[in-house]
């Protein structure tokens, strides 16, 4: 299990407080689909995602970005229990949605990059390292129930 120091918890919470889920969620997910177009395979039901402008303006995708990022909140609230917190979602992504778990890492990177865009220099090296440690724990939890 990943252990976080008191200082690391403070850093993660401080970053999360500055994140506007309704803004960052859609932006991060849009970045994933544009930078890594093979990820479009998981979002066929959202309609047209076949060009950069289609991805950028797809309302269902944007809405889903909010859902995905909001769920990160549960990890922030309960940093000692991330694996359990995501067990059910992990099973869902494996058994029902059939997502290659490498994509969780790509999404984590895009979330980090989107947040860096917003927070700019306050997102310094230590904050980045701690935030990435946190997201790695979430990615591991999301992969944990794969079989």
């Amino acid at each position: 299990m990943v252990k976080f120091t008191e200082q690391e918890r403070d850093i993660v919470r401080a970053v999360w407080e500055k994140v506007d889920v309704d803004e960052v969620g859609p932006e991060a997910l849009i970045r994933v689909l544009i930078t890594y177009p093979w990820t479009e395979r998981y979002f066929g039901i959202f309609g047209d995602l076949f060009s950069i402008s289609a991805v950028s303006t797809n309302a269902k995708l944007a809405e889903h970005g909010k859902v995905v990022l909001r769920s990160l909140g549960r990890a922030v609230e309960d940093m000692d229990n991330i694996k359990n917190a995501y067990a059910e979602l992990s099973r869902l992504h494996c058994e029902k949605i059939h997502v290659d778990p490498d994509n969780f890492r790509l999404l984590a990177d895009c979330i980090t990059i989107t947040i860096a865009c917003k927070l700019k220099s306050t997102f310094n090296s230590n904050v980045q390292a701690t935030w990435q440690k946190f997201l790695t724990a979430v990615v591991e939890a999301m992969t944990s129930q794969y079989n």
């Binding site: 990059i113 865009c117 390292a129």
Partner: protein, 144 residues
Amino acid sequence: MSLSATDKSQVKKLWAKVEKQIDDIGAESLGRMLVAYPQTKTYFSAWKGDLNVQNENVRKHGARILNAVSKAVKEIDNLTTALSQLSELHASKLQVDPANFKLLAHNLILVLAMYFPADFTPAVHLSIDKFLAAVALALSENYR
């Protein structure tokens, strides 16, 4: 995943802005990689002190790396040839695990996003990501 004409022009356009702050961007990229991925410090064991963005060695070396990437931008149609000597160096002398090129690329992308938030749209992110992957591939050419 080869570079399209659009990719090349997006990279050159952003890089014109990068050139103006190339030393700082280099220092930030390398420094952040060393802090966020401590295993990368193993390649710099000769350097004393804390390896971070402020470290003098990190700043110098970060600038050197980014200036090499600048040359790659200028020779974007010919990356394998342009980076052949550097590839030989990384393969035979430095013996850097090529997986680390991805880690540095991620940190450079993050720093570009921070420095140029308005310019670093998803479309530009895509082109830069592809370009850095192509640079990594060219750098790995002489490994085996």
